[in-house]
């Protein structure tokens, strides 16, 4: 365990000493809950319409796919015209694009980033390597199936997918959201134990709380 995660005694500015246990004190350890639909269908439809028109992507380039994000942000492909934009922090984002292979070291950060995102939230797996390992099917350091560890709503195949493929993927994502079929976050909450068991099987030094938001 890293030094900064160990229990330590801290002296405050007023001279009072108190004990800090980073893993307990810095995070709220409460399991995620299923978010129910609105009480009436037309309200839920309105919500879904609004959600589908404001897809905010977490700007976390986890793999090579991040290189096609920059052309998407610029006038040539201009994803902004579809209401898609990139946000720097997980708190402001609702779509996590896993851009390519995830090494186990990044998987740990990806899980934390995903759990810090607010509901409703969606995940897109980008590239063949998120689907079945792709080029790295025999690598000792990359995961082979993303949906074992995070609830994936949509996959975009290719190595690497062109910006047009991403735009088409965003359009499909919108359709899924509008139809109320993008239920990844609820799936994660329902099968929380299963996902956690899978995650802990590949991340050997688990030094974070089970759920942190």
């Amino acid at each position: 365990m890293k030094d900064e995660l160990k229990i330590r005694v801290v002296k405050g500015p007023d001279g009072v000493e108190f004990e800090v246990e980073p893993l307990k004190d810095y995070y709220c350890e409460a399991a995620p809950t299923v978010m129910p639909a609105a009480y009436i269908k037309i309200v839920e439809d309105l919500f879904n319409w609004a959600r589908s028109e404001s897809i905010w992507i977490l700007g976390f380039g986890t793999g090579c796919g991040a290189i096609e994000m920059r052309p998407l942000m610029t006038p040539r492909f201009d994803a902004y015209r579809f209401g898609v934009q990139w946000r720097p922090t997980p708190r402001q984002a609702n779509l996590f694009v896993i851009s390519g292979y995830l090494s186990t070291k990044t998987l740990k950060r990806a899980i934390r980033s995903y759990e810090q995102m607010q509901n409703p939230k969606y995940v897109i797996g980008l590239g063949s390597c998120t689907i079945n390992g792709g080029m790295y099917w025999d690598s000792y350091n990359t995961i082979k199936r993303l949906d074992d560890y995070l609830p994936v709503d949509l996959y975009i195949a290719g190595c690497m997918p062109r910006p047009e493929a991403l735009l088409a993927g965003f359009q499909d994502m919108k359709k899924l959201i509008r139809a109320g079929k993008a239920e990844g976050a609820n799936l994660y909450a329902e099968n929380f134990e299963w996902y956690k068991a899978n995650q802990k099987r590949v991340i050997h030094d688990w030094d974070m709380p089970d759920y942190n938001w």
Binding site: K105, W137, D138, S139, Y140, N141, K144, R201, I203, D205
Partner: protein
């Protein structure tokens, strides 16, 4: 490169010169003389740039080969120094005080090959891997496919052929 080799061989007990290109040659150096050869090349012969430091695992011969590649920019030539180490309990003296960048290479070699460099800074911190619980992965006896199959679930339906077996089938 020949005249450099004759100069070196009069000073140190080094091996034969393998000339790969007119401006690139490899030479085997005994482990205990490596540091003095490096310092001589750096200070007297103008090989001031350490290009890379890496290891090759000769599993069948029970040896690690460490390669120190040096470059002399003004003369436009490179020399590679090979050091053979016994594979079990491989230990080598650190050269981080000669080239500060060597510390990073040595960290990688310790993690990926399990070669120890006593005294090198931050040697035992994790560099690339995190929570690794197997033998160092760049060793030849580490089977990456087996590890991947044991640890990560594959999606059913994918046809993957082992390149080695497939090639054997093709070659017969």
């Amino acid at each position: 490169m020949r005249e450099l080799h004759t100069k070196l061989i009069s000073l140190f007990p080094i091996g034969e010169l393998t000339e790969q290109r007119p401006n690139l040659a490899f030479v085997t150096v005994p482990q205990e003389h490596l540091r003095s050869v490096l310092l001589h090349l750096r200070d007297c012969e103008g090989f001031t740039h350490l290009i890379l430091l890496t290891a090759v695992d000769w599993l069948e011969e029970g040896q690690f080969q460490l390669t120190y590649l040096l470059s002399n920019r003004t003369a436009g030539r490179d020399i590679g120094l090979r050091v053979m180490l016994a594979r079990d309990g491989a230990t080598m003296q650190s050269i981080h005080d000669v080239w500060p960048t060597a510390a990073t290479y040595q960290r990688e070699l310790r993690e990926m090959f399990g070669i120890d460099f006593p005294g090198s800074p931050r040697l035992h911190e994790e560099f690339i891997l995190e929570g690794w619980n197997d033998i160092p992965p760049y060793r030849r006896d580490f089977d990456t496919l087996k590890y991947a199959e044991e640890n990560y679930s594959q999606r059913p339906g994918r046809e993957t052929r082992d390149p080695a077996a497939h090639m054997k089938q093709q070659l017969t």
